[in-house]
């Protein structure tokens, strides 16, 4: 049994493990993410009782059961709404959402974009396996055009969302992308999200080895990874490749791939995640959709602005500056008269 005394010793991953048996398929990418989150939470300097993990429904959304924090497994798509109530009520809590591509982008799309717009200080971890896992393999809003699934035997007839573009279009101020099995990278992205004031959207490529095995292999497999992935690092030029001999530069309003030998050209784009204007991040978000280009990972946008709950509580404070009026005054407000 845990005790009520706040432990002074630093937290470890173990502190975040529950006694519940983890019930994902063996080999599911969710395990690696669970690991990374437990590891990262231990380093954030936040007492464990201040964490709240809110989820919707899906394989991914079982996440809270495996985290020894406060956890709320809500209903399909509504985690951002519930989390908003939690955070507005108690801004001191560190509120995280775990959701899937179906939960977040299909039924929950509206709550997601509104959470982004409001800039409420909630971190959304979207596990993107490009499929509905829990319901056994239907197309999701991130499934590729033409994908054959149980519900699309002749292939889907619709283009997928690019989740980062969508979040940016909804004015998300922190947007990032990582991969289940890229543990150190994932941890660094999670830490960056935690440090941001306001809502954060993190897409995590996740392998569903049962219904969509290898969906991200073209980018993340050991052999191809270095050539197919571009790591965005704030302040550093955009370079990738096993030999680190590819770079990106702006050509008008297009991104141009340059292959070079030796020293990188001076006009390579230097990554700036802190720009107030989201255009560059937006441009970068869809780069991975180009067959000739690498998949950018890392922090696309990190623009601090006052958060929704700060603004809301600021108003409460102002309104209460002259003290809290009595219940009597409220009941007896307006025009009254006395009957003897």
């Amino acid at each position: 049994m845990t005790t009520g005394v706040e432990s002074p010793k630093p937290l470890t991953k173990k502190d975040f493990e529950t006694d519940q048996e983890v019930r994902w398929c063996p080999g599911c990418g969710d395990y690696a993410i669970l690991n990374a989150v437990q590891n990262t939470f231990a380093t954030l300097g936040i007492p464990k009782e201040k964490f709240v993990i809110v989820s919707g429904i899906g394989c991914s959304s079982r996440f809270p059961y495996y985290m020894n924090t406060y956890g709320f497994h809500t209903i399909h798509g509504r985690a951002p709404a519930v989390a908003t109530g939690v955070k507005l009520t108690n801004p001191e809590l560190s509120v995280w959402i775990v959701t899937g591509d179906g939960d977040a982008l299909s039924i929950g799309g509206n709550h997601l974009i509104h959470a982004m717009r409001r800039n409420i200080n909630i971190k959304v971890l979207m596990f993107n396996n490009r499929i509905y896992g829990l319901t056994k393999g239907q197309a999701s809003p991130t499934s590729e055009l033409g994908k054959r699934t149980k519900s699309s035997p002749m292939g889907t007839a619709e283009e997928p969302f690019n989740p980062l573009s969508l979040a940016l279009g909804a004015s998300a101020r922190f947007v990032a992308r990582s991969v289940d099995i890229f543990a150190p990278h994932l941890r660094s992205v999670l830490s960056a999200a935690a440090s941001h004031t306001g809502s954060a959207f993190i897409e995590i490529f996740q392998n569903c080895n049962i219904f969509n095995d290898g969906a991200w292999d073209p980018w993340t497999e050991k052999q191809v990874r270095d050539d197919r992935v571009l790591m965005l690092e704030h302040g550093k030029p955009l370079i990738w490749g096993k030999e680190r001999n590819f770079g990106l530069r702006l050509k008008g309003i297009d991104l141009e791939i340059v292959k070079f030998e030796g020293e990188p050209p001076a006009d390579l784009l230097v990554w700036d995640a802190r720009r107030a204007d989201p255009t560059l991040a937006f441009m970068m978000a869809s780069l991975g959709d180009r067959p000739d280009a690498p998949m950018p990972l890392g922090v696309f946008r990190h623009h601090d602005q006052p958060s929704f709950e700060q603004r809301v509580h600021q108003q409460l404070t102002e309104a209460q500056a002259k003290g809290v009026p009595s219940l009597e005054s409220l009941i007896g407000a307006g025009e009254v008269w006395d009957v003897k």
């Binding site: 009520g4 519940q20 951002p80 709404a81």
Partner: protein, 617 residues
């Protein structure tokens, strides 16, 4: 100004009346709501008992002069207890032909009909679809027709103030009000005071309004347009401090009172919808009271956020109307499963679908009872009068927190916008029930149960040592761990049902107005209270064996309800729906109750209920 009361000419007759019903009608731009509320507050201050019924058009601004653009305000003031805004008006003020056309049929035979002749031009008649001018074709012969060229007279009274015609014409509602003040011998001080406050920053408008008001009054005095004037003496109401209150305002402050007495943060998640929006507005003005309002992107987000707020330790609430209620049902199931307190307010309106959004109805009762997937029982309570909305809102909070359950509070468009004089409750009479969240980790399990109520502990995030997980999957009692065990599921389904049944231990017995047994019991719920009360009282005055039971606690029913019902030969159940309560009573008690259903977007009249009572006697 107050001296006007005493300057009556000796030769004018002054009759004393027990009660009067006035209806002000005109175009939505004519300011009839303002006229009505002014007359109301003046009458309230004078000590009359009052009841009001505003009637808005569905459009924001329907075309001027059109039938759908007509706005009305009916008020009933009396020297004795009254329960409804009155069945049919004694006086109808019609500012234009459209208002006349849509309202005159309700006017009592030989009632006073005051019209503004200036707005009966051909164009106006056409818009209202009159083939000939009703002021001239004898069609109004059955009424005391008072024709006044109000527009011209108003313009005249404000001459010299430099107002444009439009602004001048806006004052003609004050002219009409002045006339009515004269007719019923009312003081104008309070209205004058309010005009002064309202237009403090616009001195010409202020002056114009005052002049028009006075002009209307003086006009009556000077012209003897009315043969007589009337006095409606004060009612003998309970002593104390009063305020005129609408149901929505009462409901809003009742929620605040509940949360304050529970010592909880009030969190409202809401999405605007007629006729519930005003509660959101009221509460968003109460930030000084620590109230958090969150205007969500839709009703699902609103209830979701309210659940999150309750989870985090606040008193989560949401307010909506029928279509919004329909959207919340999945989340209500979640709230039932995680057993958190939550108040869900449904201000019912005419349906189905978008229906008659500005009209009243009581047809969400069965939705409130059953409108969720699977077995998700939730306590349901309903307010009976505008003032009662305060009390039932407070009750909703009390039940939700004591029993760790969502609670549905039903009101409707009629209560929401209607108003009545409200004897202010004393704060010391509102029991405090301070809620202390669970903090002790010793023996803590999220689904431990209070043996008396079956409520589980309210342990909120941030509390060291109580980390735990909840969710919508079935859970083992006690530990709260996900459980697919068949017998546990049955146990939990029955436990949740039992938990709601146990609320019956915590609510007052069903009261009966009139004898505790007899021939006919009229059983109502919600906003039909006034019409039933009036009809039953009058029937009793006429010597009939009739009583009235008004059910405020609909799920669970009060424990003595069956007993109450069985003491009468016949049971009449009037409802503004197709028989929801009647259905519940039949299923629960197997009693052959007689439904009286009305679904017209408007309340019962006393007369309708009286007729049904008489038919059963």
């Amino acid at each position: 100004m107050s001296s006007t009361e005493t300057t009556k000419e000796e030769d004018q007759k002054q009759h004393v009346l027990e009660s009067v019903v006035i209806r002000f009608t005109g175009d939505s731009g004519d300011g009839m709501q303002l006229t009505g509320t002014q007359f109301t507050s003046t009458s309230a201050l004078l000590g009359n008992d009052i009841a009001t019924l505003p009637d808005f058009p569905a459009e924001i601004r329907a075309p001027a002069g059109s039938l759908p653009g007509v706005s009305g305000f009916q008020l009933h003031f009396s020297s004795s207890d009254i329960y409804t805004p009155g069945d049919r008006p004694d006086v109808l003020v019609a500012m234009n032909p459209a208002a006349l056309k849509t309202n005159v049929a309700d006017l009592k035979p030989n009632g006073i009909l005051i019209v503004n002749t200036d707005s009966f031009q051909q164009r106006d008649l056409d818009k209202a679809g009159y083939a000939s001018n009703p002021l001239e074709d004898q069609s109004l012969a059955g009424y005391q027709l008072i024709k006044v060229d109000m527009t011209r007279l108003t313009r005249k009274s404000v001459e010299g103030l430099g107002l444009d015609t439009k602004s001048a014409d806006r004052c003609k509602n004050m002219f009409a009000l002045g006339m009515l003040y004269w007719l019923y011998t009312r003081p104008m001080d309070s209205t004058i005071e309010q005009i002064r406050t309202k237009f403090a920053k616009k001195p010409e408008i202020l002056e114009a309004n005052l002049r028009s008001l006075q002009a209307g009054y003086t006009y009556c005095e000077a012209t003897e347009v009315f043969a007589e004037s009337y006095v409606v003496p004060p009612a003998t109401v309970a002593p104390g401090r009063y305020r005129n209150i609408s149901g929505n305002t009462a409901l809003a402050i009742g929620l605040v009172a509940g949360a304050k007495q529970a010592e909880l943060q009030l969190f409202l998640g809401s999405y605007p919808i007629t006729p519930a929006s005003d509660i959101l507005h009221e509460l968003s003005y109460l930030k000084a009271h620590g109230v958090i309002t969150f205007q969500a992107e839709d009703e699902i987000a609103a209830i979701g956020a309210a659940i999150g707020a309750s989870y985090a330790g606040a008193m989560g609430m949401c307010t909506t109307s029928g279509p919004g209620m329909a959207l919340k049902t999945e989340a209500m199931g979640l709230a039932t499963m995680v057993e958190l307190p939550l108040v869900i307010v449904d201000i019912q309106r005419g349906g189905p679908s978008t229906g008659l959004p500005t009209k009243t109805e009581q047809a969400d009762l069965l939705q409130a009872m059953f409108g969720r997937n699977s077995e998700a029982p939730i306590p349901v309570i309903a307010a009976a009068t505008p003032g009662d909305c305060f009390h039932m809102a407070y009750e909703a909070v009390r039940i939700a927190t004591r029993h760790m359950t969502p609670v549905i509070l039903l009101s409707d468009g009629y209560l929401a916008n209607g108003s009545e004089p409200w004897l202010l409750p004393k704060v010391e009479d509102l029991p405090k029930f301070p809620i202390r969240h669970h903090t002790d980790p010793v023996g803590f399990r999220p689904y431990n149960r209070n043996p008396e109520t079956l409520a589980r502990p309210w342990a909120v995030p941030g509390t060291p040592g109580l980390e735990h997980r909840i969710g919508g999957l079935e859970k083992a009692d006690g530990s709260g761990n996900v459980s697919y065990d068949p017998l546990n599921h049955e146990h939990m389904v029955r436990t949740r049902a039992r938990k709601v049944e146990l609320v019956a231990n915590d609510i007052p017995d069903q009261e009966v107005m009139g004898d505790p047994s007899g021939k006919v019991l009229v059983v109502g719920w919600g906003s039909t209270y006034g019409a039933i009360q009036g009809a039953v009282r009058h029937a009793r005055e006429d010597g009939h064996s009739v009583s009235h039971a008004h059910i405020r606690y609909l799920n669970p029913f009060p424990k003595n309800l069956e007993d109450v019902l069985k003491r009468f030969d016949k049971i009449l159940v009037p409802e503004l729906n197709m028989g929801h309560l009647a259905f519940l009573l039949k299923a629960k008690y197997l009693l052959p109750v007689v439904p009286l259903d009305k679904v017209q977007g408007r309340p019962f009249t006393e007369g309708e209920i009286r007729t049904a009572i008489d038919a059963l006697l």
